[in-house]
Symmetry: C2
Subunit: 276 residues, 2 copies
């Protein structure tokens, strides 16, 4: 299905464009969408695009008329295996990414891998970082599967974890953050110049090192290179909201688990990801 | 409890002021609060003030970090008997009131009638419109009770209706809108110059007339007078989101119920509320 076909199917569909990438996740974009929408409580929103687009579409669906139903149609690999699944919607503010948002589960997520035919290589690589993360957590080399099965397996794994802890209240959902504490810190330390996929690849390296496990898969499939970033800024971002003991998601034989890690070890692992 | 006492009790409390009245319920205020808040997911927000303040505080609680817990401390009669109860949070946009919002239930609602000692008469009158509405729906002259019992009875009635249909999906909660379709139309038709309590008093008149019931109580307690408003603008506002058949909340012997009403009758009832 293409956007054009959607419009042919549903002539009443109104379309609202958002900027590509993270620029979609801005308060000003949300305010514009709030103003443009004319649907009632029985209306639906279709989030059609990459992870940023479905994030903002879902957040607008959560807040328009105190919540309307929505459908996600991810068109990128990262959207299909991660971003569009699990009901986390959100936008960015000057203070940080995804600090504003809501849990608002889509009624359906339509995954059509034919969108990937035109996906740029760097976008595919960004998605592969989440595929590798998912495979590590699932204890299965999901990245070896043919594309369609790989996507299905990643989406299914994420959905199963989310269903066990939909609102991330019990810690079980938190394992999906494997490597992401470092990734977010690197993104902040680079002034958000670093692409999310590259940051996640580096974050996985650090998480595997702290877990005492081989990093071969990450090196082979994602080939992460240390990046330029402000070390102090990255460290401050990591400490934020982690007052006192640092609890990180590590990888064990049974999958991901939360564990306290000494601050010096975390700092060292972060520093290794940053180029001089 | 006063705001000052709250600060003494909880030195870590950070306070964030919002404009009084509907001006609090603006996207710009929400954006500022999103930026100012530094609490984590285990933090709480206390909405302390009138209905507009608790509405915006609750909405920010719904959307900060995908939802944090909050407590409502209403300081006006309308807040204590209506606005702070039931989990509806929201803000206004140029397109209309409460078109943006979320259902996000407070952990607690602290009602301290001693706040009412300094409440201006016109604010008390605005609250009495909701008290009369509640009494009509409850089939009991709640307005005759001593103030503290009156507040408790109104809050309890609203809470019981909300609990039967928290997300307004089954129509049962909708009965709380008795008179409010007309009130919202009059507010729009007056360019939002009309105070909500006055609009609700007039809306109750129209709803009782269409229900074929006496309007004596409303006339005696609220003494509503027809107001200046743009008739067409009010009518268009009323039709908005009511495509096709007009379903209104009417009052019967068993309480409120939803019923289709012929368009011409609705229009006539609305016109009677507007002064030439």
């Amino acid at each position: 299905v293409t956007l054009h076909e959607l419009q042919l199917l549903r002539p009443a569909l109104s379309t609202h464009l958002v900027p590509s990438g993270e620029a979609a996740k801005a308060p000003a974009v949300v305010e514009r969408l709030w103003s443009e929408l004319e649907i009632g409580r029985d209306g639906w929103i279709v989030g059609f695009g990459g992870g940023s687009t479905t994030d903002v579409a879902g957040f607008v669906a959560a807040t328009h008329l105190r919540g309307v139903r929505w459908v996600a149609v991810p068109t990128t690999l990262v959207g299909m295996v991660d971003a569009a699944i699990g009901g986390k919607t959100g936008i960015n503010t000057a203070e940080g990414k995804n600090l504003v948002g809501a849990f608002h589960f889509p009624q359906q997520v339509f995954v059509d891998p034919s969108f990937l035919a035109t996906l740029p290589d760097e976008e595919r690589q960004a998605g592969m970082a989440e595929v590798v993360k998912t495979g590590l957590l699932a204890g299965s080399e999901l990245w070896e599967l043919p594309e369609v099965e790989m996507i299905r397996a990643c989406a299914a794994f994420k959905a199963s974890v989310v269903l066990a802890d939909p609102y991330e209240r019990e810690g079980r959902r938190t394992i999906l953050n494997l490597g992401h504490t470092f990734a977010h810190a690197l993104e902040a330390g680079s002034g958000y110049e670093l692409r999310h996929g590259d940051a996640v690849a580096l974050g996985l390296l650090a998480a595997l090192r702290l877990s005492g496990r081989s990093t071969d898969v990450v090196e082979e499939l994602l080939a992460p290179e240390p990046v330029r970033a402000d070390r102090d800024r990255a460290w401050q971002a990591l400490l934020r909201d982690k007052k006192g003991e640092l609890n990180l998601v590590l990888l064990g034989d049974e999958g991901g688990y939360l564990s306290p890690v000494p601050e010096a070890d975390v700092r060292r692992a972060l520093d290794e990801l940053i180029a001089d």
